[in-house]
Structures are given as C-alpha cells and as structure tokens.
C-alpha cells in the first residue's frame, strides 16, 4: 500500500488538572464531522480531556470510538457523564447523545470559550463545508453563511492535494510558503478542476510548493469572499481542521487585511465545535436542575 499522505495524526489528551470527581457537572461534546470526529469532555465547563480521530463509515461507531478514546485513562466512565451533546454532520445519529445542536452554534460557542467574549466573527473550515459565523459576546450566533457548491469540500480538497503531490498533509501549509513570488491562484477551488489544473502545472514544470501556494491562495480567496458577504468584525478567529494549515490561514489574513487572534496554545482549534457542544451540555444540565 502506498503511503497515505493525506492521513493526519489522530490523538487524545487529558488536560484537566483537578480531580474530576469534585466536579458538579461533567459533560461531553461529540462532533462527528464529515472527515474527523472529536470529543471534548468538560468538568464544570473546563476542558478535561479530548480526542480527535478520523470519521469512519458509520457515525454511531465513530461517535462511540472518539468518546471512548477521550475517556480512556481519565477514569471517567460514560455513565458518569451528566449530559452529552452531539454536533457535526453525524449529530443526528449519535444514539447515546441527549441532544443534537448544529456545528454552527457549537463553533461560535466554542470560539467564545477558547478566545474569550470579544470574538465576533468565526470562520470554520471543515472537511466538507466552510462557515462564516457572526456571534455576540455570549457566543450566540447572530448571522451565518455556508459555502456554496463551488467551494464545497475544503478539507477533503486539501487531502486530495496532499495525496496528489505526495506531501504529508501537516506540511502542506509551510511548504506553500517556500516560493519566491506568490503565483496566481489556480482558477478554481473545485476539487475536480483544481486537481486537473494542478496536474497541468506540474507537467509544465511547476515545483510542488508553487502548486500548493496557488491552491492555498485560491482556497483562501474563496473563503474571504464568503467572509466578506457576512462582514468581518473583530475579533476574528478561525476554527476547524483547515485552520491548522498556515498556508491557507495566512493568506486569508493577508487578503482580509485582518489578523485572526493567534491560536490559543491550550486548545486545538479543530476541537472548537466539540467544546461548544460540551458547554451547551452544561447549560442544559443547569436548565434541568433549576
């Protein structure tokens, strides 16, 4: 089997320092996306543990796996969870979740948690969709837009490219800056066309990094168009898998002439949705207990 360059690393961590048993409300947010599945475990609204893995071809399984993995070694059992909120594409099919909330609401809520209440615009770049979200100081969505057809498949598109160019997906972003001058973006962000265009460029003798630069900037441009339709207000943050790709992120910032708040070292931005879900779970528990 050939090396799968698109495969990004899966991982889990326990970050909570105090004893979870002293917590009053223990919740989980499970984000089953089109490409990745994430679980955030929270104790009294503080991130305690999480996991991030690839979504399989069955969403209840994916949800269960990512939850189990997040709980692993923490000593928390599934039955100890007071409430579970599911989100992401697979949210409608997580049998053990108490409630489903969309990833749009969850990303806004999660961003508010990670970066604080000054966040007003969230850009979520996921596997299938891109979302430009505006929210208030509580992290409640006030407006949102999702990509149209021609810009679908953002994350998947990046996987296709990393495979095509035999560049490990985590290195795509950095590599795309190893060009002397920024090339014209590829004319299309459509995965199908971009791929055939890229092949043509390679045959013309373009180096990989230049092709990647052209693709990253095309993707950035498309995302910026979406953002401009909603209107970008500060503070601006980026979540989702592609947010880790500096090749896209920096080009988005450059075109918007705005910088996003820097990545909060404590939290993986791909987890924002799961964290938002876990926070909603907490709010729902509080509502029930009232």
């Amino acid at each position: 089997m050939a090396k799968e360059y698109w495969r990004w690393p899966e991982y889990r961590m326990t970050v909570g320092e105090k004893d979870w048993k002293s917590g009053k409300i223990i919740t989980a947010g499970i984000d089953v996306g089109s490409v990745s599945s994430k679980t955030a475990i929270m104790v009294d609204g503080e991130l305690y543990a999480f996991s991030l893995m690839r979504t399989g071809s069955n969403s209840p399984d994916s949800a269960q796996k990512t939850l189990n993995w997040a709980l692993e070694t923490t000593g928390i059992a599934q039955k100890d969870l007071h409430y579970i909120v599911g989100t992401g594409y697979g949210r409608i099919n997580i049998p053990f979740a108490n409630k489903a909330i969309t990833e749009i609401a969850c990303h806004a809520r999660g961003a508010n948690y990670v970066w604080g209440n000054t966040v007003r615009t969230v850009l979520d770049m996921g596997g299938q969709d891109c979302k430009a979200i505006k929210c208030d100081e509580k992290g409640k969505v006030t407006a949102f837009l999702m990509n149209d057809k021609c810009a679908a498949g953002t994350g998947r598109g990046m996987e296709v490219f990393s495979d095509l160019l035999a560049v490990p997906i985590e290195e795509v972003g950095e590599l795309s800056f190893k060009v002397e001058t920024e090339p014209q973006p590829v004319s299309s962000t459509c995965v199908v066309f971009a791929k055939s265009e890229a092949l043509g460029l390679l045959r013309q003798g373009w180096p990989k990094e230049k092709v990647l630069a052209a693709y990253c900037s095309a993707m950035a441009h498309r995302v910026v168009t979406l953002l401009e339709k909603v209107g970008v207000e500060k503070d601006f943050v980026v979540t989702g898998g592609i947010s880790k790709n500096v090749g896209v992120l920096k080009r988005v910032e450059k075109e918007l002439k705005t910088t996003a708040l820097p990545r909060n070292a404590k939290y993986d931005p791909q987890l924002a949705g799961a964290m938002g879900a876990a926070l909603f779970a907490k709010a729902l528990v509080e509502k029930e207990r009232k």
Binding site: I92, E103, I104, A105, K140, V141, T142, F144, M146, K287
Partner: protein, 375 residues
C-alpha cells in the same frame, strides 16, 4: 384531513385521466405558468393542470435545454419527454420567465399535442397600457380556445367560471387565515398539498373538499409543537421533502410567497363592466412574479405584510438554481426583511435538494432565532 389533497398531488396523472373518463369530450390543458387565466380555460369546459416536475434525477433533457437554465424547467420538460403527461390535449404558457419558456417550446416540438398556445402576458404589468394589451390577448386566447374546443365562450360562461375559480381562491384564503393563530391547526406541508393540488384538480372537487375541511379545521388539535413560525419565499416550490424536513426540526411554516402558493390564488377577479377586462385586471394586479415586478418593487411591501399578518419570526428564502428573476430580487428582499426585524435564510434549490447540508443550515437558523435559554 389533507390526505386527499396529498393523494391528488401524488397521483395527479391518475386524477386527470379519471377526470377525462367522467367528462366525455372534456379536454385537459397543461399550463406552464400561473399567469394562464384559469377563468377562460374553465369557461371553455377545459381542465387546466399546472405542469410540475417530479424531483427525480433524469437524463433526458440535456439535448434540449442547456444546463445553465433552472432545474425546474428541465424537470418539467423531463415529464413530457418521458410521456408522463400523455393524456394532455393541449399545452399553454403565458409569458413570464425565459427558463420555463424553453420547457414549453421543447415540449411543443418533441411532445406534440393537438393544441399549443403562447399567451403574451405583458411583463410591465405596472404600465397603464398593460391592461388593454392583456385584454386584447385574452380575447385572442378566448378565440383560440373556442376554435380548439368548438365550445363558444359566452360572457355568462366566463362569469360562472370566474365564480368557480374565485370560490376556490376565497376558500384557500380562509384556510390560510387559520394559520395566523398562535398554534396553526395545520402544517405548511399540508398547505402546500392544498395549493398545489388546487392547480391540478377540478376546482369543483377541490372547493367541495375545502368546504369540508373548513368545518373541521378550526377545532383540529395538532399532535406537534408549532415551534418557530417561518415564512417561505421564492419561486416554484413543491419540494415536499424539504418542507417536511423543516417542519421536523422545530418549526412551522405559516405563510408563503410562492407561485405554487399565495401568488397563485391570493386575489380574486372582481367582475365589473367588461368581463374579459375584469379578468385581465386580476392577472395584472395579482402578487407579481419577480420577472414582472418592475420598475417599482411592489413585492417588498406585499411580502412584509404577509410576514406581519402571519406573525412570521423568520423567513426561508429559496430559489431554483440559475433562476435569474428571483436572483434579482433576493438581495432586496433579504435587506428589506432585515430592516424590519425578520431574519432570513437563503437556500438554492435543485431537482433534488441535499437534505443533510440543508438540515444543518435550517437547524442553525432556528438555533439562531431561538435558544436564548442556553446562554
């Protein structure tokens, strides 16, 4: 309560064939647009049926209509090419958008029926000259119908037909009025079945059922929560799967601005003086299709009034992909609704809609306009 209407809609072809059996010599006329004057068609003893698509992927229209035209017009033509309307005796279109006109002209060429008539409905309905022009065209249409059917269309017959069509319009408005209640006794899906079926059944049958429904409807108890009250705005829309999805995630559609909805039946023909002129006036004054809403934007106040009267808390705006007339109105509608405190969600429709991605958008929209208790 509305099962019969759903049945009519689902089995539209069986209904029309049955109608012909029960009306020996009766003709069925396929109509491509709701600007076709039903009064005239009924007066000729003909059953008008609105031609709609089937929401199934197909591969037969590609040689006839270039893919940049709206999926609806292709879906409609596909029905003809697949011989699903083989019982039609004629087809007609009134001038509206170019997209659907292609379905008509290709149908005319490749699925010939005995009678086909292009009715040049004025586009500038706001012009003071539109009325006399349309009256003249209605006269020509009337003559063509007479020649085709051999039935003379007298003023008396026109009056009777007007009453028949008006009654149906009036009854549907009465049903719509009940949707203004805090907990509407019906779903948007049921309303959709009602209006769409009225476009493909004999108004006599449809009104009879409506009268029965109107007796029971006010006391009807729904076994569902109303949830968020939404309005739906857009082009042709008989996408029941989409409506069902919206109403399954915590919302109820309470009113619409669709040509498969209120635009078709909202106003009545007022018989005053010359009958044909009265009927023409009705079509000039009806809630406009965007292709005819210029130079002034009269749709905006109309839509806003519907939203207020029906207490809509948000609006879903849908558009057939590539539909230019709607695309040219939507930014103004979104802006106007927003200015008046009504948030909206815009979605682009195709023959089949991707329920999953749309569900996410709709749910997020509902979360946005509600769920304050989680913060």
């Amino acid at each position: 309560m509305f099962e019969q209407m759903q049945n009519w809609y689902d089995k539209r072809h069986a209904y029309a064939k049955e109608w012909k059996k029960n009306h020996p010599g009766g003709k069925v006329l396929g109509c491509f647009c709701t600007y076709v004057p039903e009064e005239l068609v009924y007066a000729a003893g003909v059953l008008p049926v609105r031609l709609l698509g089937s929401h199934e992927p197909q591969s037969v229209t590609e040689p006839h209509i270039f893919g940049m035209y709206c999926p609806f017009c292709r879906d409609v033509l596909a029905q003809g090419l697949q011989k699903r309307y083989d019982y039609l005796d004629g087809i007609t279109i009134s001038q509206s958008c170019l997209h659907i006109r292609q379905a008509y002209t290709s149908w005319q060429m490749h699925v010939p029926t005995g009678f086909s008539y292009y009715l040049p409905m004025p586009n500038c309905v706001q012009s003071p000259h539109a009325l006399s022009y349309l009256k003249g065209e209605f006269l020509a249409f009337k003559n063509a119908l007479e020649k085709w059917t051999g039935n003379e269309i007298t003023d008396e017959k026109l009056r009777q037909a007007t009453e028949l069509v008006n009654t149906n319009r009036r009854l549907m408005r009465q049903v719509y009025d009940l949707r203004k209640q805090d907990n509407p006794p019906m779903t948007g899906l049921e309303a959709m079945y009602m209006v769409v079926s009225s476009q493909m059944t004999d108004k006599n049958d449809h009104s009879k059922l409506l009268e029965k429904i109107l007796k029971e409807l006010p006391g009807r108890k729904m076994d569902r929560q109303t949830g968020a009250r939404l309005m739906i705005i857009g082009s042709e829309d008989d996408d029941t799967a989409f409506i069902k999805m919206v109403e399954s995630v915590g919302a109820t559609l309470v009113v619409d601005d669709h040509c498969t909805g209120t635009r078709q039946f909202w106003n009545e023909t007022e018989l005053k003086g010359d009958v044909l002129t009265s009927i023409a006036k009705r079509y000039i004054d009806r809630p406009a299709c965007p292709s005819k809403d210029w130079p002034e934007r009269r749709r905006l106040p109309h839509i806003l009034k519907l939203a207020k009267d029906f207490n809509a808390k948000g609006a879903i705006i849908i558009q057939q992909k590539f539909c230019d007339p709607h695309e040219l109105d939507i930014p103004a509608i979104i802006k106007d609704l927003k200015k008046n405190g009504i948030p909206s969600l815009f979605l682009e429709f195709d023959v089949t809609v991707p329920i999953g991605p749309f569900r996410t958008r709709v749910e997020a929209f509902l979360e946005m306009i509600g769920q304050d208790d989680l913060f």
